[in-house]
């Protein structure tokens, strides 16, 4: 029987000579922690490395957006009306792909698609990451509290979780976002994009924390029965030590996995809401909004939908593959 899934592999990865053999005195040993072992496994996973590389690339692009704008020499709001024909369609082939407009131009407004995607990536990743971090933090806190304290606290957190899970996300989001905007801004006022972003993140946070909370609660409940928790209690450690030094380090793996699988769902979720018109709206560059606009030109200018569509597909795929790889590295027993 083994303590953690990590261990079976951990042990098998040591050559027989190094496993707990008393070695020459005087030489200092530094063991490899379970985390280091997982990292070593991740390094060996080609899919993880490729998808991780893709993610790093996307993050760098999003971070360096102003720099790219400077090098590219085009503003996301700049309109190139003289590159459009009389019907507002971009001149040239493939939606106006040229050396100065790499992914072509938007029909009718004539904005550059590439630089809008660079900034759209920024919006998307920011919302998804912020929502992911907030939901994970709330979920971990709620889950640890429920799992460790048990009793009525567990019951109350369980009810709230069930309640949040029972709410239909899309309907509530469709109803909530415009209502909240109206509450703070008049019907004729322009709603600043930062406010829209904040509302989106709040909506995701309201619904997203439940899965993390359930996951963490289950992990903590099973950990609580383990003898090392009792041993720590018998040693007289404080509650803070118990939670942050004994319990949390042992559930980082599932938390990390749930985080890395939650982020892509927020990327698509944000795109869906923007597509439906309750998320980010037009002047702000955003994938969902771009795809929404491109639908009208599906027949006349298919390249408009192509670039944002493919990019968001690759982004979400890379996130999911990477999340799976992280899970495999942290928990080798779940290997197919």
């Amino acid at each position: 029987m083994s303590l953690s899934p990590v261990e079976d592999i951990a042990l098998s990865e040591f050559s027989p000579g190094t496993v707990a053999e008393p070695a020459a005195p005087g030489s200092g040993f530094v063991g490899r922690s379970p985390g280091q072992l997982a990292w070593a496994r991740l390094r060996r996973d080609r899919v993880a490395m490729v998808s991780g590389g893709v993610l790093v690339f996307f993050f760098l692009v999003a971070l360096a957006a102003p720099l790219i704008q400077w090098a590219y020499g085009t503003d996301p709001q700049q309109q190139f009306q003289d590159s459009l024909d009389l019907y507002g369609m971009p001149l040239g082939y493939a939606g106006g792909v040229t050396g100065s407009h790499w992914f072509g131009l938007e029909p009718s407004l004539g904005r550059d698609i590439f630089i809008r995607m660079v900034y759209g990536l920024r919006t998307s990743l920011f919302i998804a990451l912020a929502a992911g971090v907030i939901t994970t933090v709330i979920g971990v806190l709620a889950g640890v509290l429920a799992g460790y304290a048990g009793g009525w606290l567990d019951a109350v957190i369980g009810w709230v979780t069930d309640f949040a899970l029972a709410m239909p996300f899309l309907i509530v989001a469709l109803a909530l976002v415009p209502t909240v905007s109206l509450r703070f801004y008049g019907p004729r006022e322009a709603v600043p994009s930062s406010f829209r972003v904040a509302v989106l993140i709040t909506v995701f946070a309201l619904f997203g924390w439940t899965s993390a909370a359930r996951l963490v609660r289950g992990q903590v409940v099973s950990l609580r029965e383990r003898e090392f928790i009792e041993a720590a209690r018998a040693s007289g450690v404080s509650t803070a030590h118990m939670l942050f030094r004994q319990v949390l380090p042992n559930i980082w793996a599932p938390i990390l996995v749930s985080f890395s699988l939650a982020v892509p769902s927020y990327v698509t979720g944000e795109a869906v809401l923007s597509f439906l018109g309750v998320g980010i709206v037009d002047p702000t560059p955003d994938f969902g909004a771009m795809i929404f606009r491109s639908i009208h030109y599906l027949q006349t200018d298919p390249t408009y939908v192509f670039f944002p569509g493919v990019t968001i597909f690759i982004l979400v795929l890379a996130f999911n593959l990477f999340g799976d790889a992280v899970r495999d590295a942290l928990d080798p027993r779940s290997n197919r």
């Binding site: 303590l3 200092g28 040993f29 063991g31 922690s33 003898e227 090392f228 041993a231 018998a234 030094r245």
Partner: protein, 344 residues
């Protein structure tokens, strides 16, 4: 070895200790009497062996002693102080004197901590600053339990079961306790490793003057380490006394049956009067009338069903037995159970 250390006040005194767990059943709930009124004493430097089959409440008793479980009833006095319901901060000083060694070396060490850290945590939590620094003290402890002090920075998964159990022992010893509850410390280990760990515990007993409450179902191991033995059955102590008395003159039928079940290679072929217990253990969910052992006892009479036998001394000896019809005189020969007597 005499079982009478000079000090009169026992280090640990337990009276009427009980733990009842509520068991949910559909709409109602029933009470599981895991431990149902247990009395015993442990003197400083003495080892009490607590034996019994699985589910008899010995582990629950051990957990209550170190206050990992809240007793339902009864009193625990440690060094004359009532510790039965101590909580939070008031428990801190007790943690330094009373420690526990766990059964499963695979689940009793935090996989995310190095061995050095695992052993250092009790020191840090109790604000102990050893003279040479915590790091040196941990190395010293590793050496005491027979591990390479250089393994300080290794993780539990890099050790074998026996080595992990040694780490668990070092952790318990870190605060220099006076009494250690050892909850089946060797039953999860290979037989060859068991002997090493038992010898280690015996060395600690001798060198550090440690008292143990040694919980086990293996009578040979208990015999090796204990000064006195208490036999538990269904949450109660049915017989207790000095080791020699229990092993050579068991009076309770259950003790006799247990002793006769100890395997013995040399005598395995001859008929040595092994007692096979028939019937099932009575359910701890139901209040038993009379003697709890009567469902399996070959000597049970009408009286056993009505009247619960008290734990009393027979024949004026310091051997208490809870039976209406205790065994007379030597029933099991000295050879029957292997294991050397405790030295010193």
């Amino acid at each position: 070895m005499s079982t009478d250390p000079p000090n009169a006040v026992p280090l640990l005194a337990v009276q009427g200790l009980a733990k009842h767990f509520p068991v949910r059943e559909g709409f109602g709930s029933r009470i599981l009497r895991a431990v149902d009124g247990v009395d015993f004493e442990v003197r400083a430097g003495e080892t009490l062996g607590l034996v019994g089959e699985s589910g008899c409440g010995k582990t629950t008793t051990g957990r209550m002693l170190v206050r990992l479980l809240e007793p339902t009833a009864g009193r625990i006095r440690f060094d004359g102080r009532d510790i039965t319901h101590l909580r939070g901060r008031a428990l801190r000083p007790l943690r330094r004197e009373l420690q526990i060694i766990f059964q499963d070396p695979y689940s009793s060490l935090n996989p995310r901590h190095t061995v050095g850290k695992i052993i250092a945590i009790p020191l840090q939590a109790n604000g102990i600053r050893p003279p040479g620094g915590i790091r040196n003290r941990v190395r010293e402890l590793l050496e005491i339990v027979g591990l390479n002090p250089e393994h300080y920075n290794r993780y539990p998964h890099e050790f074998s079961g026996g080595q992990r159990q040694r780490v668990g022992i070092a952790r318990a010893l870190a605060v220099q306790p006076r009494l250690v509850v050892a909850d089946e410390p060797v039953s999860a280990l290979d037989v060859s490793i068991q002997a090493q760990v038992v010898n280690l515990l015996r060395g600690l007993q001798r060198d550090l003057g440690l008292g143990f409450v040694f919980i086990a179902h293996d009578l040979a191991v208990v015999r090796h380490l204990s000064h006195r033995v208490a036999v538990m059955y269904l949450g109660k102590i049915v017989e207790t006394g000095a080791r020699a008395d229990i092993y050579q003159r068991p009076q309770h039928p259950y003790t006799r049956a247990l002793l006769s079940a100890v395997p013995d290679i040399e005598r395995s072929r001859e008929d040595r009067g092994r007692i096979r217990l028939e019937g099932d253990v009575a359910s701890p969910l139901e209040a038993v009338s009379g003697c709890p052992f009567r469902s399996r006892c070959w000597k049970a009479r009408d009286r056993c069903a009505v009247e619960e036998p008290a734990l009393v001394a027979r024949e004026g000896r310091e051997q208490l037995v809870a039976c209406h019809f205790p065994e007379p005189a030597p029933a099991v020969s000295t050879e029957e159970v292997r294991g050397e007597p405790v030295a010193g």
